[in-house]
Symmetry: C2
Subunit: 362 residues, 2 copies
């Protein structure tokens, strides 16, 4: 099928750009003392995870037990749930999955460590647990230093758990716009990581892995030498928000490979076009989607099923019925709106990949 | 199953509140010279549409051909696609569906009218077409007055189409906060509707139906006498955005019936709790979700899989593992994230209703 004939709205993956992004990330870590563990929360797709592993990743991260279940069902053998899992039902599913595959999870509270231990006991497994530390994002995580040591001791003392290291992801740093700002934030993060790891190891507890980093910061964690694993997710796709970041010459340049394909469904006047992709087709939490290579035609406003394009005087305006590409404002929640990637190479649809963990929230 | 045992995140429908909302809308239009045609874009659920019809609605509206297909498959016999449908593939599906059920669609361009006529001819059906006029939302729609008349003539002159009336929905007016602002906007809308209808009827073209209105404005369109059909959608659920509107004593009071059920997954410190419902569990396009009946505990920030709650000094803070209800910021795109409504009555799960048109974008 020709790409031009695909109906809209649809989630499009440009395979050439996607594969170049995979290769650039592989190149960035080649020969470095670090493992790549891409975050699958961005793509929720076993087909993509398998390609990341084929390109050198040791496995993937995800955020939810149901995502891990979908990825393992799709053939992935090493998953880190880079997040806390709370509640007996979820913990039993987590422990059951750990009987089938290499699985690790994070914790940031002693009570949760006890519950993890009990679930592992019920399932007859030993679970790998990383202590999540708050390195500046002020979301989950215990404070670095003494609180992290106390929790690492809890994990290490639990009969059915293994202390596997530290989760140290600075989400808030990913979209600081300048390299200088991101460098400053990650420098502080690295100090916290080093001192906390040292404290734990001085206590006689081996800290096998420090893991973290995202698409907006990973060269900084990599250069620090303080991280054993990197967790970037969005690099395979990119989005309008990541494209607004400043990157310097040392930074790998990832290409936009993910698009929303949309049709002009109304041309009420010379200054306005309306497309059929609105809030339910492209997430606007990090700003509006952007038109792709259409100078003077800006996606100005989204409602549930409509996007209003503002056409500048003199710009070449798309006609009624024309199809065009949008760059999602934020890739992760946009992917979660779709059941399929329409995978395109040079104008031809090559594959449909299911978003196998779409809606996998629990 | 007890509601308390439902795992999170989940989309919860409080059936008592939902049924009271259905009854209040039925009461609002009882004995009035107007038909109720609720908008199914909000719920995307045939089970709910059937209950709306049982409560007196003549049928429903929706925005997409794929939504109409799902609703008709679920037993709905009268659907208005309150939107333009563009592209040969969609038009053929539209015409095929019109062979099975009462179906109408909107148009705002002569080119689209020609395409609708051709698709109806291919399918051997006569399609009902309403002319959409721009009554202030500045999205789709021809301008009222002469441009609307010209398009109505096009429709009326098309062999395989029937001119069914005017679509006149003022989306921009729904969330003007004060009753006075909404009254002013709808008064202007009503003037445009009356003068355009008169122009068309003076031309000898019958204008059977004027349809429009939403949850934020429908008592105004109703009181005007200028509308034959009302299209409110959100009244069955409500959301944080609609709850911010001012309503006066004459306005029916709809209750919050739709919630996102979430678990506290981290309690890093006294001022912060983190819940497991983020951007992929509750749309933030119209502001953050709100906690339900938890004074001093505010949903402050959403990321993909996390919501950060800010706990005011002295507030009763939810414990790690506690489950709580969120009021979605905007009901329509939140519903579209879920596969099921968990329907609850007085603490017990009574039914699961599929979001049958979830992801139906095309």
């Amino acid at each position: 099928m020709l790409f031009a004939d695909v109906d809209t709205p649809a989630l499009i993956l440009d395979l050439d750009a996607f594969e170049r992004n995979l290769a650039r990330m592989a190149e960035a870590v080649r020969g470095k003392p670090v493992r790549l563990r891409p975050h699958a929360k961005s793509h929720k797709c076993a087909e993509i995870a398998l390609r990341q592993v084929a390109a050198g990743a040791v496995g993937v991260c995800c955020q939810k037990v149901s995502e891990a279940e979908a990825l393992v069902a799709g053939g992935i053998k090493d998953v880190l749930i880079a997040n806390e899992v709370v509640g007996a039902g979820k913990l039993d599913r987590l422990a059951a999955l750990a009987r089938k595959t290499q699985l690790a999870v994070c914790a940031d509270a002693a009570e949760n460590v006890n519950d993890l231990d009990a679930a592992a006991a019920r399932a007859g497994v030993r679970l790998d647990v990383l202590v999540e530390i708050n390195v500046g994002a002020d979301r989950c995580g215990v404070e670095p230093g003494a609180p992290a040591l106390a929790l690492a001791r809890n994990v290490a003392a639990s009969r059915n758990l293994r202390f596997a290291g530290l989760q140290a992801y600075h989400g808030g740093a990913q979209h600081l716009r300048s390299v200088a700002e991101r460098s400053g934030a990650i420098a502080r993060t690295v100090d916290l990581v080093r001192s906390t790891r040292a404290l734990i190891e001085q206590d006689g507890i081996a800290c096998a892995t420090v893991t973290g980093a995202g698409t907006g910061s990973f060269p900084l964690e990599l250069a620090s030498g303080a991280y054993d694993e990197l967790q970037p997710g969005s690099y395979i796709f990119m989005d309008a928000d990541y494209n607004r970041n400043e990157y310097d010459a040392a930074w790998p340049r990832f290409e936009q490979s993910l698009f929303v394909w949309t049709t002009v469904m109304s041309r009420p006047n010379a200054a306005r076009a309306v497309v059929d992709a609105g809030l339910k087709a492209s997430s606007v939490d990090s700003g509006m989607p952007q038109t792709w290579q259409l100078p003077g035609v800006d996606y100005a406003k989204a409602s549930d099923e409509h996007g209003v394009l503002a056409i500048a005087p003199g710009a070449t305006a798309p006609a009624l019925g024309a199809k065009l590409l949008l760059v999602p404002g934020h890739c992760d929640p946009t992917v979660n709106l779709y059941d399929w990637y329409v995978c395109v190479r040079r104008g031809v649809v090559e594959a449909l990949w299911p978003v196998s963990a779409r809606g996998a929230l629990w």
